[in-house]
């Protein structure tokens, strides 16, 4: 499974004059589920949406490269990007209520998207729209509703249906359940998991809640202060060769029923977006910090699938 769908290399993004992403790298292979976890303000959405050039003003890309399905996205113009968007890669936004147009029905949203991608036959569009609703267990009459009439969970399902309309190779889920309550969250997660298994698309699942990813993702990338500090298979996370921040994150999780453990929050505060140091940004809060942490920490490979940006864990191997 070495077919790489998305390859983000050393991406740097700024909002106006404030640098927010200081060189982040990520690789997504065909059919895999990559979780991306980080605190609010760590730059998770910026990383993926910025890479795909989906961010609006005042975001600007200041460095790096992004290859999607063999094509460099930074070489494309607006028309080229529109060919990639929705066909090859699509997005499920964080809050569907804000993303959907309150003036239009759900059916109009679906119709708009299909028309924009060359599906001219009205009957064909109608059929696909009903299929799309069925895919997420929504009745066809949902198509006649306006966004505000639907519940949060229903709106999120609409967003998922829209994202899968053209059967893209990669779907980005940007905190799809953050705005929902726990019960609905469970339902949405199960649906995403089922759809991914059934359709086989690669998925990037962005969240601030690492516990959601532990049983769902194949690999998990951890983002801290605008840099990716670890990428590892879900099972390998938190072990002795994990980044201190990841260990801290897992230790701060509320203990599950029957678990003999207390949650321990990480001491200190994460740096504000825009603050950057040449060395490891986590060093001030790390119990194992040493003077060597002030040097730049590159993501070093422990194994083919496990990379860590910490000299203590990864040793001096390049």
């Amino acid at each position: 499974m070495n077919d790489v769908v998305l390859h983000i290399q050393d991406l740097q993004v700024a909002y106006g004059s404030t640098a927010v992403l200081h060189g982040a790298s990520l690789r997504v292979s065909a059919g895999e589920v990559l979780g991306l976890v980080g605190e609010s303000g760590s730059g998770k959405s910026t990383l993926v949406q910025g890479a795909l050039r989906m961010l609006g003003r005042p975001a600007v890309i200041t460095g790096g490269d992004v290859i999607l399905d063999g094509q460099s996205l930074f070489d494309l113009d607006a028309a080229g990007l529109r060919r990639m968007w929705w066909n090859t890669v699509s997005l499920v936004p964080q809050n569907a209520l804000n993303a959907l147009n309150p003036m239009l029905t759900i059916g109009a949203h679906v119709d708009d998207t299909l028309l924009a991608h060359g599906i001219t036959d009205a009957a064909d569009r109608r059929r696909r729209a009903i299929d799309a609703m069925a895919l997420v267990d929504l009745l066809p009459d949902t198509l006649t509703a306006h966004p505000h009439m639907l519940s949060g969970g229903m709106r999120q399902r609409v967003a998922i249906a829209l994202a899968l309309l053209l059967e893209p190779r990669l779907v980005v889920f940007d905190e799809p359940t953050t705005a929902l309550d726990v019960v609905v969250e469970r339902d949405i997660l199960d649906r995403i998991r089922a759809l991914q298994a059934e359709r086989g698309f690669a998925a990037v699942f962005i969240t601030h809640d690492i516990s959601l990813l532990l049983t769902f993702a194949d690999r998990i990338a951890v983002l801290y202060a605008g840099r990716v500090v670890e990428v590892a298979p879900a099972r390998a996370l938190g072990g002795p060769s994990s980044h201190p921040y990841t260990v801290g994150l897992l230790g701060a999780l509320p203990p599950k029923l029957g678990e003999d453990r207390t949650a321990v929050p990480i001491a200190g505060v994460a740096p504000r977006a825009g603050q950057t140091t040449p060395g490891c940004a986590f060093a001030p809060r790390c119990t194992h910090a040493s003077p060597k942490c002030e040097e730049p920490q590159a993501l070093r490979a422990l194994t083919d699938h496990h990379h860590v940006a910490c000299h203590r864990v990864a040793g001096e191997r390049p």
Binding site: V13, G16, Q49, G50, R53, M54, L55, G56, R57, P58, A59, V60, I61, T62, G63, F74, A78, L81
Partner: protein
């Protein structure tokens, strides 16, 4: 924030020009001839003796323009501040206390907004004794409600924020919460409101005086224009009795508008002039590598 305003080119231009007008209004009258005096043949065009010529009553136009600035600008700024003050108090109380208080005050505000201001203005101006006090009263009575509505909705939304609840729980009195917690967050809104109210005050003043409803013996920009038309400026082609005052009013209004644009740009960078490339509609994230 003052510094950010100064760095914004539009705001800076507006401040400089308006400041210059205020300076002229304050100091100018000491430097020019007596605007009431008969100085030369009426309706004589600009010359070396009288840079802007004379009016239909033989008075120096330059002097009248400069002296007129004092009353018009003075009253304009004063009324602007008053209108915002009153509107803010009423709107602030309505937004802060909510409930019955809000319902009652909102009713008052909405009814005042919906009653026609111009006829009311004309009637009041016609029947009150001429003078700056009456003019101020007329402008304030017809103008306070707009601000009240704007302030009310802003206070309403700020009221729900966490830091306000925290202050209330900590035992701060309502007045303190309003002044210390809420108002500072509305600085730019209030700044814009004062600019808008001042513009309205100057414009309405000039309009009423032009109709002959102000104090005709006073020297203001509005009365200057009233007398110019009364003395058939247009028919005799005596543009110099008419143009300088109009230009002065326009310059003031334009300066205030620029200041407003700049203020918008500072508080909401998306609105700042200079953003954008002229490309149509939403665009993909641009790639701009530093060399």
């Amino acid at each position: 924030m003052m510094r950010a305003l100064w760095e914004n080119p539009q705001a800076r231009a507006g401040l400089v020009v308006f400041g210059a007008m205020l300076a002229v209004a304050l100091v100018g009258p000491f430097l020019v001839a007596d605007p009431d005096a008969f100085v030369a043949r009426p309706l004589s065009p600009p010359s070396m003796d009288h840079l802007l010529g004379t009016t239909g009553q033989g008075q120096d136009v330059l002097a009248q323009t400069v002296v007129g600035a004092r009353t018009t600008l003075g009253l304009g700024v004063l009324v602007g501040l008053l209108v915002v003050a009153i509107g803010s108090v009423v709107g602030g109380l309505a937004g802060y206390f909510g409930g019955k208080v809000d319902e009652l005050l909102s009713l008052l505000i909405n009814v005042s907004l919906v009653l026609p201001g111009l006829p009311l203005m004309v009637v009041l101006a016609a029947y009150l004794p001429a003078g700056p006090g009456s003019m101020a009263a007329v402008l304030v009575v017809t103008g306070w409600a707009w601000n009240a509505r704007v302030v009310r909705s802003q206070v309403l939304s700020l009221r729900k924020r966490d830091f306000v609840d925290a202050a209330i729980v900590a035992g701060e009195s309502p007045l303190r919460v309003l002044v210390v917690e809420i108002l500072p967050n509305m600085a730019s809104l209030l700044g814009g409101a004062v600019i808008g109210a001042t513009t309205y005050a100057i414009g309405a003043q000039v309009g009423l005086e032009f109709l002959g409803l102000g104090d005709l013996s006073a020297i203001t920009w509005g009365t200057n224009l009233y007398w110019a038309t009364n003395d058939s400026a247009l028919l005799t082609g005596s543009w110099w009795t008419f143009v300088p005052t109009g230009a002065a009013i326009a310059l003031t209004g334009f300066a205030l508008a620029l200041l407003n644009f700049g203020l918008d740009g500072v508080t909401n960078p998306a609105l700042a002039a200079g953003a954008g490339t002229g490309a149509p509609g939403p665009q993909p994230t641009p790639v701009r590598r530093s060399p």
